[in-house]
């Protein structure tokens, strides 16, 4: 009888444990964490944002593909070799919708992957138990800014400029405001106008959140992380593309007025782009820059322009660009470029980010010089030529102190001067083609190795086809 009971008890015990199965069936992976689990605490949530910053540094994003795309197509770069040329399909404007024949597909993927990371932060922010509201605000602000930045970069590559149609009604990209499960259709692209409206909205959210937040990251200098000023600077850039001149002017003025980002002097200019030093003064212009690891042998953006970097450094400057500098311009061939003979030809390689791997300079994504030039453009477009010229001359004379102030009175001449100055100052920083097309200029590449060197504006070729995978 005792054994009966024991047997029955065992059976009962087994039955019982099978009943409470809900918890039993929920097993979390040990090597990884599920989304709900990551966002349970502040530390976990923060790692996902760090991962989003990592994406910006990826070879398919700012570390190579994205800025090189615009610099190659914009005519600032030429290859020093004739085989295995990176982004050569883009260089010739031959991309198609097929993933396999679109060499910007990897950028498309990583930009949306960044968006995915940000959307998770935005969706799960309220699950975080141990973060203060101020910390949450900073996380959200970062997520909104990064989401906007990724979409902004996407829309600039994969759509025609905002001003291509009068009301920006032409096709833009898919704007992902929230993540969906794998099998939910992603929908159709929205108009460029709607994309920009979303960008503005996201950045405005970020701006208001940053003002009511605290820093959340432990390491690195402040400008290696996004900030209120960074969000404003990106918003300023968006306004520039939208031709919202008053807004661009206001935002630029706010950043300049803060006095936090002094212009590098003429004498330090070249050095500030070269090897990384322990001194932060080299990075003083940066409002937002990507931190380059000293302790790790990571590849850097500058590797592409470093002719001593084995097989990678084969992106030389085009003569189209070099011919823009004259006189004692510190940015010219004699100071800012490294001359090297490759296969019997004489080439000039930019010194921007010349340090290789561990010595690479932090990659500045937006800096004060651009702010001045943007304000100049916004003012000029609003017919405030005198202050516009003041900003322009500041940049010109920093590069070449012997120059005299420009005193133009024709709006178009002022704008054209700003246009050229932007190319001189911001070359290799990811503005190339975009500055040409948003100003409705023809693309003219004279020192060119491609099959399609010049394209008249307007042309649908200025938008890379979106790689589609179904």
């Amino acid at each position: 009888m005792f054994l009966y009971k024991k047997g029955l008890l065992t059976l009962l015990a087994i039955s019982c444990c099978t009943w409470s199965c809900k918890k039993f069936l929920h097993q979390d992976p040990y090597n990884r964490l599920s989304i709900d689990d990551v966002f349970k605490d502040f530390e976990g949530a923060r790692t996902t944002l760090v991962g989003a910053y990592d994406n910006l540094k990826d070879a398919n994003y700012y570390q190579s593909m994205f800025p090189l795309y615009t610099e190659l197509t914009g005519g600032n770069i030429k290859y020093t070799r004739s085989t295995s040329q990176y982004l050569f399909t883009s260089y010739n404007f031959n991309n198609t919708n097929e993933v396999t024949t679109n060499d910007m597909a990897a950028f498309y993927q990583i930009a949306y992957n960044t968006v995915y990371r940000c959307n998770n932060v935005i969706s799960f922010i309220n699950n975080i138990k141990d973060a203060s509201q101020l910390q949450k605000n900073r996380m959200l602000a970062d997520a909104y800014t990064l989401r906007a930045l990724s979409h902004f970069d996407l829309v600039r590559v994969f759509a025609l400029p905002y001003n291509y149609t009068a009301n920006a009604s032409h096709t833009g990209i898919i704007y992902r405001k929230q993540n969906t499960d794998a099998t939910v259709p992603v929908g159709d692209p929205v108009s460029v106008k709607e994309v920009y409206n979303n960008l503005t909205a996201d950045l405005d959210s970020a701006i208001s959140l940053y003002s009511n937040s605290v820093p959340i990251y432990a390491g690195g200098s402040a400008t290696t992380w996004l900030s209120l000023d960074a969000a404003k600077a990106i918003q300023m850039r968006v306004s520039l593309y939208k031709e919202d001149w008053p807004r661009a002017n206001t935002l630029a003025s706010e950043i300049i007025a803060a006095n936090s980002y002094p212009l590098v002097s003429n004498s330090s200019y070249v050095q500030s782009w070269k090897r990384k030093t322990t001194s932060n003064s080299m990075d003083q212009e940066a409002i937002f820059m990507l931190f380059s690891r000293i302790d790790q042998n990571q590849a850097s953006y500058g590797d592409n322009f470093n002719p001593s970097n084995g097989i990678f450094g084969y992106m030389a400057s085009s003569n189209d660009l070099l011919n823009l500098y004259y006189g004692a311009d510190v940015r010219g061939a004699n100071s800012m470029f490294v001359q090297k003979i490759v296969n019997g030809n004489n080439y000039f390689f930019t010194s921007k980010y010349q340090g290789m791997a561990d010595t690479a300079n932090n990659q500045k994504l937006i800096r004060i010089s651009e702010i001045y030039l943007t304000r100049a453009e916004a003012l000029a477009e609003s017919n405030n030529l005198v202050p516009a010229l003041a900003d322009l001359n500041r940049i010109r004379k920093r590069a070449n102190p012997v120059l005299t102030d420009l005193t133009l009175t024709d709006k178009q001449q002022v704008l054209d001067s700003i246009y050229v100055e932007r190319r001189r100052e911001l070359c290799f920083e990811g503005q190339g083609l975009f500055d040409i097309t948003r100003k409705k200029k023809h693309l003219i590449r004279t020192d060119c190795q491609g099959s399609r060197c010049s394209i008249s504006y307007p042309s649908p070729l200025f938008a890379t086809p979106r790689p589609t995978q179904r």
Partner: protein, 1039 residues
């Protein structure tokens, strides 16, 4: 009185016996008799006494023994022929019986018991008998184990497609280290894809390949679901070792075969569940079929001891022929000249034309195998035991490769109370495997270099390890253990209700030690390299179930089983690696100057409810309905429960009046079933949106990356299986089983691309639909019965595979290297490639046909013309027809068994690297087939000019018809001859049986595409490493 003596009553009880252990037969029988309606023992005794007093009666007594070992047989039914009078033997095999005077003179007695031949003995006025009964395996075959849950069933009760083989048929004396390899050819519709490496799992296809082929090769982890059947041993499923969710650091770990944890000598029977009616009780894991292994148990009575020993040797057969030193020299020189090198330089580059090192010869040997086994069994009516132990020592023909395995099994049955039975099993094993696998990695190195330098050191080319040095300096061994344990309680609550609880564990540990010495090229640049992988698997399963077997009236018999099951699988992994071993002889990780480590864990759980209802009407009509619901942690939240169900019906036609007296047909059964099964075995957590972590992210912060997107719609693959079967018995000699089936696999899981806008490029999704259809048949004939017996079995499995649908994308292609694609209308095993159109006689350039028959030149640089997307089907890796042909002969103590296996219509795409137009010839040796190459204008050859892609810009087509061979073969897989020594000669041993045997494995092959002896063909190319032909001899003694 009628009731008691009625053979029908006895028969009924006998049939019930089948399902109980033989151990308690007598006791239970008595109880059953008592409990049976009308079978009242007391009344019967009175009636018996009464009748004895009335008539003239004679008492007969005697003993019934087994012819095999002369020991008494319990529960043998004894019936007076032509009457309903009968009795049964006691536990010592003794019986006592009374007959009338008339019957005493003229009558005869019929002795019968399950598992033995029936005997009919005339009384002839004798009052004392010693009857010996011969074992009848055929009769044992009438009982089928249908699942790890319920009790065995009579064959005629089974409505599903189940093939069952006994240990005798499995021939466990063969020199094979695990039973899965023994199944080849023995079960119709089961294809065993043999491999040639010791201790590794073989791939088993039940009714064709049930998972879609991997498109991108093995490197992409967790790509598809498991394609292996589910193995269940005594109710405990054996977890398959496969890489799913494991971190990349564990990618190179080598597994031992988890099935090697089962001692083949312990196996009593194997049942292969093929259709939905049979397999649906395993629900979501049964899509690829289920293999149920039942182990031997102790029986009450005398303690029996069996001891066996065998030993054998093995040698490689059909090895690939490589170029010898001189041939190699000629070819490599020609290659350099073809590339424009001047002859003098080419001669210099080509190396020696005298040295000829047979790398295969010096890295291989005659293999040796030894096997020792013993088992001890016996017990009382209350408790029985069986203890077995084995040791296997196998040395592969390849140096540096050997395998040792020790097994122990303890099996106990205890009748705790009349109603409660406890069954306990514990089966630990220890395995050690040395696997340097020098061959596949290293052997085809160039032949015109020496093994040793003049000073006795190993000759080395930079980057190419010397195989002999590797054998002597490196180690790669795996030590492992498995433990299969099981505890089961059966409680007979009432006559018709039994409640069972079962807890089983399956534990596996595997520790691989790899050391690559800095003295040779494998570890030179790292200063020596060592890795230790430590894997622990702990899986447990528990189920509780109730069995209710009510009988309503005389005709309606039900058997209802319902239960819950909980399962948990846990894996823990640890890896340590080190480089820079300052002193080469000390190679523990603590001596490494640089050390790294990694660890990982995985857990998956499942919870299931199952129910099976069998209905038997008049023993003629059978219905079976099965359902199972499985919930598992590996899937997303909204679909993590799936229900599989099946229904089947059977009709025993031969019991109908119109066939009852047929001389020709003694058995005719028709069966039909339909149902679903699933395949849930994909890597854990696939459906979850997951983040992986890294310490060194942006700005030296901890970072995390999303590695998969939430995919809650990911669901279990489902197979819709239909089966129609017929079982036919003719002339009491021939039995035919034929099953026609289709199986449609829906929602097959594979990786699909998703729009980049989601943030990801690909996910696992249920995208494909595939159909397997065909038939399997088994024909067994007792050609001779009597003193000389000859029985013959032919197993056939015919299968056609077709991909029906590939959702979203319509079709998917793999790579030219793996020549795989998924395209509706074609088999998933199809070989996609280009038909060779010969070689241009003027230039030696290889020519191919494109899909529409246009000739393409290999030096045509148009992009993508040879991409897999432009290829077409050349053949199919899956056979049309495959099976075995088994013949058993016996005469007196001598028996001979021959197992032939065959396969028809399967293509084999040989490794193109063995014959690569000379590409890479400077780094490795290639096939002698290259001797027939094109050399000068005007040559007609199928092998183009020797050249290397890197230099010439010439295209190689790895999926060329040139490497495609017809895999159709017939093989004498095993021939064994055994002789049971006459009792007189073994009397001094006091043994009940002594037999000696010899065994030959892989004795001969016939390939349809025979090829020539001096070139490589299908024979040589079928296996990367050659198969071994082995001969063993052994002795078995039973007490």
């Amino acid at each position: 009185m009628q009731q008691f003596y009625s053979p029908a009553c006895l028969q009924n009880n006998m049939e019930r016996q089948i399902i109980v252990q033989a151990n308690t037969v007598k006791k239970k029988m008595k109880r059953n008799l008592l409990q049976n309606t009308g079978c009242k023992w007391v009344i019967a005794m009175m009636v018996l006494l009464f009748s004895t007093a009335l008539y003239g009666q004679q008492i007969i007594n005697g003993t019934v023994v087994s012819a095999d070992d002369n020991h008494g047989l319990e529960s043998v039914s004894i019936v007076l022929k032509g009457s309903t009078k009968g009795t049964a033997t006691d536990k010592n095999g003794k019986f006592r019986f009374s007959v009338s005077d008339k019957d005493f003179k003229e009558g005869s007695l019929v002795f019968s018991i399950l598992g033995f031949y029936k005997r009919d003995v005339k009384i002839n006025g004798r009052s004392s008998f010693i009857i010996s009964l011969a074992e009848d395996n055929q009769e044992l075959k009438n009982v089928v184990v249908t699942s790890g849950y319920g009790r065995p069933k009579r064959k005629e009760e089974v409505v599903g497609a189940i093939s069952s083989i006994t240990s005798k048929e499995l021939q466990t004396d063969r020199p094979l280290e695990s039973f899965d390899k023994m199944l080849e050819g023995l079960v119709s519709g089961v294809q065993v894809q043999t491999n040639t490496e010791l201790g590794t799992p073989v791939k088993i296809n039940i009714r064709g390949q049930n998972s879609i082929s991997e498109i991108f090769g093995a490197n992409r982890q967790g790509l598809t679901t498991s394609s292996q059947p589910l193995f269940v041993i005594d109710g405990v499923p054996i977890a398959e070792r496969r890489k799913g969710d494991e971190p990349i650091q564990f990618g190179d770990e080598q597994f031992l075969n988890p099935l090697a944890g089962i001692n083949p000598d312990d196996i009593e029977s194997i049942s292969v569940l093929k259709d939905a009616a049979a397999a649906a009780v395993y629900g979501a894991n049964a899509s690829n079929g289920v293999v149920i292994i039942t182990t031997k148990k102790g029986r009450p009575g005398r303690t029996k001891l069996n001891v066996g020993f065998s030993a054998g040797i093995s040698n490689p057969v059909n090895r690939i022929k490589w170029l010898n030193g001189q041939q190699y020299h000629t070819l490599i020189k020609e290659l350099y000249i073809n590339e424009g090198t001047d002859p003098a330089t080419a001669e210099k580059l080509a190396g020696s034309n005298e040295i000829n090192t047979d790398w295969f010869g010096i890295t291989n040997r005659t293999g040796v195998v030894q096997n020792y086994d013993m088992d001890l069994s016996g017990g009382t009516e209350q408790s029985q035991f069986r203890i077995s132990a084995s040791f296997l020592n196998q040395q592969s023909i390849q140096l540096g490769n050997d395998y040792q395995q020790a097994y122990l099994t303890i099996q106990l049955n205890n009748q705790l109370t009349p109603k409660l039975t406890l069954t306990t099993k514990l089966a630990p094993t220890i395995t050690r495997k040395n696997g340097l696998t020098v061959y596949s990695d290293l052997t085809p190195i160039v032949p015109n270099i020496p093994t040793y330098n003049a000073d006795g050191t190993y000759y080395t080319i930079t980057g190419v390890p010397n195989p002999v040095a590797v054998l002597n300096q490196n180690t790669n061994y795996a030590e492992g253990g498995t433990l299969i344990g099981n505890m089961r309680l059966d409680y007979s609550a009432t006559k018709n209700l039994r409640i069972s609880g079962n807890i089983g564990t399956n534990i596996g540990i595997n520790k691989q030690n790899l050391y690559q010495s800095k003295l040779n090229e494998t570890g030179r640049t790292k200063g020596g390299f060592a890795t230790i992988y430590d894997r622990t698997e702990f899986n447990w399963i528990a189920f509780t179930q109730a069995n209710w077997t009510p009988k309503i009236g005389n005709r309606h018999q039900f058997d209802i089983m319902t239960g819950f099951e909980v399962k948990s699988e846990n894996t823990k992994l640890l890896r340590g690696s080190g480089t820079g071993f300052t002193y080469y002889r000390l190679n523990e990780l603590s001596n490494a100057s640089s050390q790294t480590s990694a660890s990982s864990r995985q857990t998956s759980t499942a919870y299931s409810v199952y129910m099976q209802t069998a209905y038997n009407l008049s023993d003629k009509y059978f219905l079976n309905v099965t359902g199972r619901s499985d919930a598992s942690s590996v899937f997303g939240t909204d679909v993590n429960t799936t229900i599989n169900a099946s229904a089947g019906a059977g009709w025993t036609v031969n019991k109908e009046a119109f066939l009852k007296d047929s001389k020709l047909i003694d058995q005719l059964r028709l069966r039909a079933s339909f149902g679903t099964t699933g395949n849930s075995r994909i890597g854990s957590y696939e459906a979850r949106g997951l983040y992986s972590f890294n310490n060194t992210g942006y700005n030296a912060q901890a970072t995390s990356d999303p590695v998969s997107i939430p995919n809650p719609g990911l669901k279990w693959e489902k197979s819709y299986k239909t089966n129609i079967g017929i079982d036919l018995g003719l002339l009491k000699r021939i039995t035919i089983g034929f099953d026609w089936y289709t199986s449609i696999l829906d929602d097959a899981i594979s990786i699909v691309e998703i729009p980049y806008e989601t943030g990801f490029a690909e996910i696992l999704a249920n995208t494909a639909k595939m159909k397997n259809s065909g038939f399997d048949a088994s024909v067994t004939a007792q050609i001779f019965k009597g003193k000389f017996t000859w029985s013959s079995t032919l197993n056939l499995g015919y299968n056609q595979n077709k991909v029906l649908e590939v959702k979203n994308v319509g079709q998917r292609f793999g790579t030219s290297d793996n020549a795989v694609a998924l395209k509706p209308g074609f088999s998933t095993g199809a070989i996609w490639g280009f038909r060779q159109a010969g070689v241009d006689p003027q230039t030696g350039v290889e020519l191919f046909y494109d899909a529409i028959g246009k000739v393409l030149r290999a030096d045509d640089n148009t992009p993508n013309i040879f991409s897999i997307q432009n290829s077409y089907v050349l053949g199919d890796r899956l056979p049309d027809l495959q099976g075995g042909f088994i013949n058993n002969f016996s005469y007196a103590g001598l028996s001979v068994s021959a197992i032939f296996t065959y396969s028809l219509g399967n293509g084999v795409l040989a490794n193109y690297r063995n014959e690569w137009n000379g590409n890479n010839l400077d780094n490795r040796n290639q096939s002698v087939n290259l001797l027939d190459r094109w050399q000068k204008p005007g040559d007609i050859s199928l092998i183009p000019i020797l050249n290397r892609q890197a230099r010439s810009g010439y295209r190689f087509v790895p999926n060329s018809s040139r490497y495609l061979y017809d895999g159709t073969f017939l093989k004498l897989t095993n021939l064994s001859l055994s002789y049971a020594l006459p009792k007189t000669t073994i009397r001094w041993l006091k043994a009940s049986r002594v037999s000696v045997y010899v065994n030959g494995a892989n004795l001969f092959y016939i390939y349809r595409q025979s090829g020539t002896d001096d070139r490589n063909g299908i024979k040589q190319y079928r296996f990367t490493y050659p198969e071994a032909q082995s001969f063993t001899g052994g002795i078995k003694i039973s007490w």
